[in-house]
């Protein structure tokens, strides 16, 4: 590989008010390589990318494209230099077709009327060049899967001659299969000479598809390494200054009585005769692909969705939770996989979020009067035990980082003294440091005798955390692995059995 760089960012600095967000960060990306940008949340990755996309103005440093100084002070100048940033939240109009979305800023190519045939042909050609013969230019974007929507977004940027693509956590919303598909596309783009900056918290992915890794920490440049020259442990060490071995902390919890026992749960096509039991002090994992029916099973037990048939025994009694209120009253908690739409009240204060499921503890129950002082103390204690970082409990939850938001979402169930907590993808979208803290919290829960159910699509964390793992596929339980049998191979084998 020659030493010419497609994109170079030298000594970029940026401050907000008095706070230094970036101090001398450099990033050099070769032509036709996939370059991972790695760092904890708040390390400055997004700030750096926003400077690249022209959304922020840098205070110092320079940007070179093809070895020449480029002036990038606005989103337009960034685009003109061939840079395209694809965010997690896609910028597509869901009601328009694929062709319309791809050529949204140039539908009529300069003339007064749209030449639909030409538009569709060009879209077709573009999609074919990436190998997506199965996406129709006429399909409505909102009806496509998220992975295909990403393809459309990528095409949109390619049509504008972008040759530096920034992908911000593209796989966090994708299923296993879709992720594979995306990797194929990225490799194809790479062959076409397009440079890709890839941001992800999933180290496995980075090792699979990236060529080079640049690590930044606390707004400063740490190192740039070739993927072949480093192992996971060292990489985590670079990122957080901690050893990988600490990532899954050990616990010594006594496994006790059965807390929750589900027998032959049926709820719609995605939950068919699911049975399992979980003990006090145990962490029971649920593995399987997205759509295997794991979340749906839990929602049915929790009373959030209708359970068609089946028997649930909770704390020794047969129960049927008709709605979530019944479940919460009996001290069953569920940390939803979708923090933003089902877990938190984003525009309310941290305090309100924490006590949402346990208001009765800080109220005079006969008159439903809230004791504010008591509530504040209570919230402070709970958040303290979870090591949540926050300035004031009166600030909105949305002002917190992803990991701390997750802790607030969790604090709701800790505050409600739940005897069994279902963690649905608890570490999605949080950085390595916060992941560890969440694992610690789960361990502490288990140690206190709480039965913990953990749904996760990341096999390493299930292996690291669980006493037992149940594997689901197409709405059925297809396997169960004990701690000693937990390997990625075994899990994949079980999942494929059906």
């Amino acid at each position: 590989m020659q030493d010419s760089y497609k994109l170079e960012m030298h000594d970029i600095t940026k401050s907000f008010g008095g706070v230094k967000a970036l101090s001398g960060v450099s990033l050099r990306v070769r032509k036709g390589e996939i370059h991972a940008l790695l760092g904890e949340n708040g390390a400055g990755k997004s700030t750096l990318m926003k400077i690249l996309s022209g959304a922020y103005k840098r205070d110092g440093g320079e940007i070179l494209i093809d070895g020449k100084t480029a002036k990038i002070d606005s989103p337009k100048e960034s685009k003109d230099n061939g840079i395209a940033v694809i965010y997690q939240e896609l910028m597509l109009a869901p009601d328009l077709t694929v062709a319309e979305n791809i050529f949204i800023d140039n539908l009529a190519s300069g003339s007064a009327f749209i030449n639909w045939k030409k538009l569709k042909d060009e879209t077709r050609a573009l999609l074919d060049s990436l190998g997506f013969n199965d996406i129709s230019p006429n399909a409505v974007c909102g009806e496509l899967s998220v992975a295909y929507q990403q393809v459309v977004e990528i095409c949109k940027n390619l049509s504008r001659n972008a040759d530096v693509l920034v992908l911000d956590e593209p796989t966090s919303v994708l299923t296993f299969k879709e992720t594979e598909h995306l990797f194929e596309i990225l490799n194809r783009l790479k062959e076409q000479g397009i440079s890709i900056i890839y941001i992800s918290h999933r180290l496995e992915e980075i090792f699979r598809i990236c060529d080079t890794i640049t690590v930044i920490k606390d707004g400063a440049y740490v190192d740039t390494v070739r993927v072949g020259d480093i192992d996971k442990e060292h990489l985590v060490h670079l990122m957080v200054g901690r050893k990988m071995t600490d990532l899954y902390p050990k616990r010594r919890a006594k496994i006790g009585e059965v807390v929750l026992k589900a027998e032959d749960i049926c709820a719609g096509p995605s939950v068919q005769k699911v049975s399992f039991e979980v003990h006090a002090g145990e962490i029971l994992g649920f593995s399987g692909l997205v759509g295997a029916g794991r979340t749906e099973t839990m929602r049915a037990i929790f009373g959030a969705d209708k359970m068609e048939s089946g028997k649930v025994t909770y704390l020794g009694e047969e129960v049927h939770f008709k709605n979530s209120r019944d479940a919460v009253r009996r001290k069953l908690g569920m940390l939803s996989e979708d923090r933003k739409s089902e877990g938190l009240l984003l525009n309310q204060s941290i305090r309100i979020n924490t006590t949402l499921a346990s208001l009765y503890k800080v109220t005079d129950t006969t008159h439903n009067i809230i004791f504010h002082k008591k509530e504040k103390e209570f919230v402070k204690n709970i958040l303290g035990t979870l090591k949540t970082k926050y300035a004031s409990a009166e600030h909105d939850v949305s002002s917190l980082s992803g990991g701390n938001q997750q802790k607030v979402a969790l604090s709701k169930w800790i505050a409600a003294d739940c005897k069994c907590i279902i963690f649905d993808e608890p570490t999605r979208g949080v950085d390595v440091g916060a992941k560890m803290e969440i694992y610690n919290i789960m361990n502490e829960c288990a140690m206190k005798g709480v039965a913990v159910i953990m749904i996760s699509s990341e096999m390493p964390e299930l292996i690291g955390m669980c006493d037992r793992v149940i594997i689901m596929s197409k709405g059925r339980v297809v396997g169960e692995l004990q701690r000693s049998e937990l390997t990625e191979d075994n899990m994949i084998k079980s999942a494929m059995e059906v």
């Binding site: 907000f16 009253r329 569920m334 739409s341 009240l345 309100i352 208001l359 504010h372």
Partner: protein, 308 residues
């Protein structure tokens, strides 16, 4: 940086009080008559009913919907009360009872349809707006109902032995306390921010939606009662347009139309701001039609301040 940030936060939070203060000062300079006790008392008296409606409206808005039927509920209640006094010889306690009942009834109808049939509040209450008004028109045969004697006029001066302004202030204080110190106030806010999350936290949000509409219904029913008391007459269209003033007061008071944000005290201040604008234009002899234009423009500017 922190100082700057706080100043901005402060302005955003207390925007409406600032507007109120500025308006008050401007008004006192604009007309000598503005500060006369008679004028201020007049504003207070006239504003009792819009404040009731605005407080009522705030609750559906906080919970993330809206109640457009408040004006019709006012007209309906006023008509029924006046008819029951003039034709049925009802006495005062009965009139108050009827008011409470009609408010409850219509609030419940709105709330149940919105919450349990999962329909948007805007559409539901737009429909009930004409339904309630229609029923009231049928009952009154479209004419004005007059109550002879001073039974209602007495009520307008002193209800339960207290001046109406005092009662209004007590009601405002009760609502402020409710919003701040009860689980009900808290949960209404929570439902408005994220109904899914609240449901999954074990709270049955539908009941709170119904409750929010009941508050709105009862508050507008009492606004209707008070309004017909002042003149001893009522008609089905008595509260026409009140919903717009109420929404304007809520928005001016910083309530978010997407739910989850709104405070009683600020909305009351918002309503008073609108009242002052109207009052000063009257004092300055601005024509009624021109007033409407200016009022609308001022509301847009006031709300624009929140975006800064």
């Amino acid at each position: 940086m922190t100082k700057q940030f706080n100043l901005k936060r402060f302005l955003l939070n207390y925007n409406v009080f600032l507007i109120f203060g500025i308006l008050f000062i401007v008004c006192s300079f604009a007309s000598k008559n503005f500060l006369l006790p008679v004028n201020l008392l007049n504003i207070g008296l006239q504003q009792c009913y819009p404040i009731f409606v605005a407080i009522g409206m705030l609750f559906p808005i906080i919970i993330g919907t809206i109640d457009l039927s408040v004006g019709s509920i006012m007209g309906f209640t006023a008509s029924v009360v006046c008819m029951s006094i003039s034709q049925g010889n009802a006495n005062l306690p009965m009139a108050v009872g009827i008011t409470l009942l009609t408010g409850l009834l219509w609030g419940m109808v709105n709330g149940v349809i919105v919450a349990y049939c999962n329909m948007p509040g805007f559409v539901v209450t737009l429909a009930t707006l004409t339904i309630i008004k229609g029923i009231a028109l049928v009952l009154t045969k479209g004419s004005t109902v007059r109550v002879e004697g001073d039974i209602l006029l007495n009520l307008s001066k002193r209800a339960f032995g207290y001046p109406v302004i005092i009662i209004t202030i007590i009601v405002i204080i009760l609502f402020i306390l409710m919003q701040r110190y009860t689980t009900f106030g808290r949960i209404i806010l929570a439902v408005g921010s994220n109904r899914n999350a609240v449901e999954l936290s074990g709270i049955r949000s539908k009941r709170y939606i119904v409750a929010a509409y009941i508050i709105s219904g009862v508050m507008s029913a009492f606004a209707g009662l008070w309004l017909c008391c002042r003149t001893s007459t009522a008609s089905a269209v008595l509260g026409k347009g009140s919903e717009l003033n109420a929404v304007a007061a809520c928005v001016l008071g910083g309530a978010s139309l997407s739910g989850g944000r709104g405070s009683v005290l600020k909305v009351v201040t918002g309503a008073l701001c609108i009242a002052m604008i109207g009052n000063i234009m009257n004092l300055l002899g601005v024509g009624a039609y021109t007033q409407e234009i200016i009022q609308g423009v001022l509301i847009i500017f006031a709300v624009l301040l929140y975006g800064i």
